[in-house]
């Protein structure tokens, strides 16, 4: 899946206001989410995603996901040429259902976390991460 810079940037503003991405940006990512959830409904709460608003370095962006009681959390970078970042699986003996890592972002885009919860339901959280060329600090 290819994004021009313009499309990626256009996604920024739209997604800042709502979590629904423009259709074109959505297709592949939606398929991946559907595959993970088996098409089940997804709640808006139950998983926390921590990521910077503006990346200090798009090549290594620290993110953290946490979902108490989750058996798995999938992380997607919706605007990357290859959106899947990782799926963290938690066994029954896991002390906490949280993970942190650093990811590479091709440009400004939405990072999405989908958690499979204890009761088999799913939760979603997302955050727009801006990747900028910088300069000009007041």
């Amino acid at each position: 899946m290819d994004f021009t810079r313009r499309e990626t940037l256009a996604m920024t503003a739209g997604a800042a206001l709502m979590t629904v991405l423009p259709f074109r940006a959505n297709a592949a990512v939606d398929d991946m989410i559907a595959e993970f959830t088996g098409g089940a409904d997804i709640a808006d709460s139950g998983v926390e995603l921590t990521a910077p608003e503006i990346a200090e370095n798009g090549n290594t962006v620290p993110i953290e996901v946490a979902a108490p009681g989750a058996s798995a959390i999938m992380v997607l970078a919706a605007g990357n040429p290859t959106p899947p970042v990782a799926t963290f699986n938690f066994g029954p003996l896991a002390a906490s259902q949280a993970a942190s890592t650093r990811i590479r972002l091709a440009g400004t885009q939405e990072v999405i976390a989908i958690a499979k919860l204890e009761d088999g339901s799913f939760a979603r959280s997302s955050k727009m991460v801006k990747v900028t060329i910088g300069g000009c600090g007041g």
Binding site: R5, R6, L9, A10, T12, A13, G14, A16, L17, T50, P52, E53, I54, A55, E56, N57, P62, S100, T108, M128, K130, T132, I133, G134, G135, C136, G137, G138
Partner: protein
């Protein structure tokens, strides 16, 4: 029983109606043209705790002129809200009389004429007088420095911030947070911070490698003052490695981190804090959003975006105070804290009119001592200003027009770009331009004036990128600078459009031809955040240009067409 919220609102109303902020009083006195130091400092002590706030001094030790912006556009929820109100609208909002000192201090109109009448502003020896006077009345007052202190002048550059550290230490602040300080490089920052006799705070200053709080900076500090247990939490500029060269301080990571801010507020409340003060370098709109996101902060002392507001802005139960820049203002905030709650406040933004407020002699001597080794080099006259030279404004300022012209002619470029920083004093028509004046608007540790080629397409990407840092409707995505200044090229900007669609009609001013996305253009600029940028320091480029011109004429700049403001 009156709720806390009612108390705050009553207090705000009182402020507006009878001038408990001192503001209404100040402008009436102004009409009489009988301003005295006592009147500027007049303040009926209130409550049991006093905060004093200075911020964004940018190493201005001596009195200067500083013109506030004409264009300061707010977007999203901040459209038409302070501080995005300027000029006559601003005066109307706060009931400021035309021609009064508050007109001069807080708005841009008739600046040159009023400057002749009211004189220079700032000077840390005058600031010292104000602080000493407040402390004489309230010895327990907490003095807080919002940062951007160790940057911005000839002496600060040549002493790597030592001049400012020496002078600020004499003012005895209780705590400080940071931004441009980091452009001294992390080794120098460590050296200076380790020697500070007061707290260096920043809950959002992290170790970049481990993504853990940096050891050198504490998130908060407790003070027992006036029988009140006060916690001051620091917030450094969130986007330092993006807006400034991250390679100069690679050990550190920043960010807004409002989840951690909430944790810190909860932590200090849990430790018995009766009053929580946030000493912030977020910028005003970011602070307003943070006040709404994070609960439990009583006062945000806001810095970074250089706004000066005569009254605090109330967000929920938090008051947000903006204290200007360049040593032009000191804010005094008196609080009534009872049983761990802020029951009311009284506030005054004190303008440091340098002809009205007497300098503190000990501080004058200390300042002059810092300047003495550089005085002869700094005072050399390079040229004269033919008009008012200023910087502030979202899109351009006459000082930046001069800098862009210097880049175009001295670096033989087609297009010039100058960073949209908000620091840098103004010069009146007919004033000598000294070397110090040039450094006041150019001094930095990454000053190289590069000369390179960029395609028209890339130029648009640059403009769009910077525009989104200023006009993204969500303040958390803003960086707090102004738009990059452009010479040789004009453009149209619609501030209401989404990222990537704001800029259009990019045009070469010399020929009137549209910018060709595929063509290469010779571009000169400065303040690149990239390591290894080559070229002469910008102050040499500007000095050579002004020396050739003699008198710098100032024209109207119509190269940017703004839509949707």
């Amino acid at each position: 029983m009156i709720s806390r919220r009612d108390f705050l609102q009553v207090s705000m109303a009182t402020t507006a109606l009878v001038g408990a902020s001192g503001f209404g009083n100040w402008s009436r006195l102004a009409a009489q043209q009988a301003l005295t130091q006592d009147q500027l400092l007049q303040f009926d002590s209130f409550g049991n705790l006093t905060l004093i706030h200075v911020t964004d001094i940018h190493a201005q030790l001596k009195p200067i002129y500083f013109r506030e912006p004409e264009v300061n556009i707010g977007v999203g929820p901040n459209r038409g809200e302070v501080p995005h109100i300027t000029g006559a609208d601003f005066r109307k909002l706060y009931g400021i009389e035309d021609g009064s000192p508050s007109h001069y201090a807080l708005t841009y109109n008739d600046f040159s004429a009023l400057a002749q009448e009211y004189g220079r502003v700032g000077g840390l020896d005058r600031v010292a007088t104000v602080i000493n006077s407040i402390r004489a009345e309230r010895p327990d007052a907490i003095l807080l420095d919002g940062g951007d202190t160790w940057h911005g002048s000839y002496t600060c550059y040549h002493t790597q911030g030592q001049d400012m550290v020496n002078v600020m230490n004499a003012l005895k602040p209780d705590a400080m947070t940071f931004h441009w300080e980091f452009t001294l490089g992390s080794d120098r920052v460590r050296e200076l911070v380790e020697g500070l006799p007061f707290g260096a705070l920043g809950q959002n200053i992290f170790d970049a490698e481990w993504d853990e709080p940096a050891e050198l900076f504490k998130p908060y500090q407790f003070f027992e003052r006036g029988g009140v247990k006060v916690a001051v939490i620091g917030q450094a500029f969130p986007y330092m490695p993006i807006a400034n060269p991250g390679w100069m301080f690679p050990e550190y990571s920043f960010g807004i981190r409002d989840e951690r801010m909430q944790e810190m507020v909860d932590e200090v409340r849990g430790q018995g804090a009766e009053c929580v003060v946030l000493l912030s370098h977020n910028g005003f709109d970011v602070d307003k959003k943070m006040a709404a996101q994070v609960t439990g902060i009583d006062v945000i002392l806001s810095g970074h975006t250089h706004d000066a507001l005569p009254e605090p802005v109330l967000v929920g139960e938090t008051i947000v105070v903006a204290s200007g820049s360049n040593g032009k203002f000191v804010s005094r905030v008196d609080l009534n804290i009872q049983d761990g709650r802020m029951m009311g406040f009284r506030h005054k933004l004190i303008p440091i009119l340098s002809d009205v407020i007497a300098p503190d002699p000990a501080m004058t001597a200390l300042i002059d001592e810092q300047r003495a080794p550089f005085e002869s080099a700094m005072s050399e006259v390079i040229g004269q200003s033919g008009g008012l030279l200023y910087r502030r404004g979202n899109f351009n300022g006459t000082w930046d027009d001069v800098i862009c012209d210097a880049l175009l002619s001295e670096r033989e470029a087609e297009i010039a770009m100058s960073p949209g920083v908000r620091w840098g004093p103004s010069l009146l028509p007919g004033q000598d331009i000294t070397r110090e004046d040039i450094w006041n608007v150019t001094s930095m540790t990454y000053p190289n004036a590069y000369r390179t080629e960029m395609t028209g397409e890339f130029l648009k990407i640059v403009l769009e990128d910077v525009a989104d840092n200023l006009f993204n409707p969500d303040p958390y995505y803003q960086q707090g600078g102004d738009m990059v200044r452009v010479g040789g090229m004009g453009y149209r900007i619609d501030v209401t459009k989404p990222a990537g669609e704001r800029i259009s009609e990019m045009t070469m001013l010399a020929t009137g031809e549209p910018i060709d996305p595929a063509r290469n253009y010779v571009v000169a600029g400065w303040a690149s955040v990239n390591e290894g940028t080559e070229g002469p320091p910008i102050w040499e480029v500007v000095e050579a240009h002004i020396a050739k011109l003699g008198t710098v004429e100032v024209g109207e700049n119509t190269s940017v067409e703004v839509v949707g403001a």
